[in-house]
């Protein structure tokens, strides 16, 4: 993937690029800046810090079974502000588990949508046909974001307020 620039309506610019092994410290810092609520929505539980094993797993990805795209501030490349990732399911290789986290101060400004769409394009190129996500049913912003690039979502409640949703990576929608 060639790095891309995404500019918000207020002029702030971000570089979208694949995550890499060198991003461990940036990812750890980014996680530390998240509010408790954003962490809870991403991991469905408290997760005060990412362990070394977590950071290794989350940054040393192969781009085929595990794809992750980050957004970093264009004027401060060490400031990682958002990550979208998908991990292919071993038993259903055309399906990948999807997740996204956007820094609190940038939520609702369109960066997550652009990141999600970019990830979907990368995933489609390696044969992934649908995304599935596990999230709180109350997390309407993420469900809205998923619908924006996946269209209709399927799935249901799994318990404890958690839903598992899936949607197809429509080529037409990605091209739109």
């Amino acid at each position: 993937m060639v790095p891309q620039i995404h500019r918000l309506s207020d002029g702030r610019a971000f570089v979208l690029r694949p995550i890499g092994p060198d991003d461990k410290a940036r990812l750890s810092d980014s996680h530390a800046r998240l509010s408790e609520e954003s962490v809870r929505r991403r991991f469905l539980a408290a997760k005060p810090a990412l362990s070394r094993a977590d950071l290794r797993y989350l940054t040393e990805v192969d781009g085929v079974d595990h794809i992750a795209i980050v957004a970093v501030a264009a004027d401060d490349p060490d400031r990682l502000v958002a990550v979208a990732r998908c991990i292919r399911l071993a038993q259903r290789p055309e399906v990948a588990e999807w997740a996204i986290v956007v820094g609190d101060e940038l939520q609702g400004l369109g960066l997550g949508g652009r990141l999600a769409r970019t990830l979907a394009e990368e995933a489609a190129q390696v044969g992934i046909r649908s995304f599935t996500a596990t999230l709180f049913g109350e997390n309407q912003p993420i469900q809205g974001l998923m619908r924006s690039f996946l269209g209709e979502l399927h799935g249901g409640w799994t318990g404890d307020g958690v839903v598992e949703l899936a949607g197809e990576l429509g080529v037409d929608r990605l091209a739109a």
Binding site: G20, P21, D22, R42, F43, L44, A45, A46, K47, S51, R52, A53, D54, R56, Y57, E60, D62, V64, D65, A90, P93, E97, A99, V126, G127, T134
Partner: protein, 113 residues
């Protein structure tokens, strides 16, 4: 005919050329065994999902050339799985008492190393 062997381990990608399929498979085996010996992973707990060492891929070693496209994944517990293809990989089922490396050789037409 030449074959290319690609070894992906964390941040590094190394490539080798081999004149014969046997030599390429020998290189695959050496790289995979080295990764299995030296690369282990701790469990990852992302709360919403946990990944045991065996769920994590620490190295992927692939051979490509002469109509062959196959390889092995080395997992975080030292185990290996063999596959054909690259983007759309198909697992190579191991026969009883067969290693993943032997299954790879069988599937691509090499002889036992």
């Amino acid at each position: 005919m030449s074959y290319r062997v690609t070894v992906r381990r964390a941040a590094t990608v190394a490539r080798f050329s081999a004149v014969t399929l046997e030599a390429a498979l020998d290189a695959v085996e050496a790289a995979a065994r080295d990764a299995a010996r030296s690369e282990r992973r701790a469990p990852v707990d992302l709360r919403v999902r946990a990944y045991a060492p065996g769920d994590q891929v620490v190295a992927r070693v692939e051979v490509h050339g002469g109509g062959v496209r196959a390889g092995v994944d080395v997992h975080g517990d030292g185990s290996m799985t063999a596959h054909t293809g690259r983007v759309r990989r198909a697992p190579i089922e191991k026969r009883p008492d067969e290693t993943a490396l032997a299954a790879l050789r069988r599937a691509v037409g090499g002889t036992e190393g």
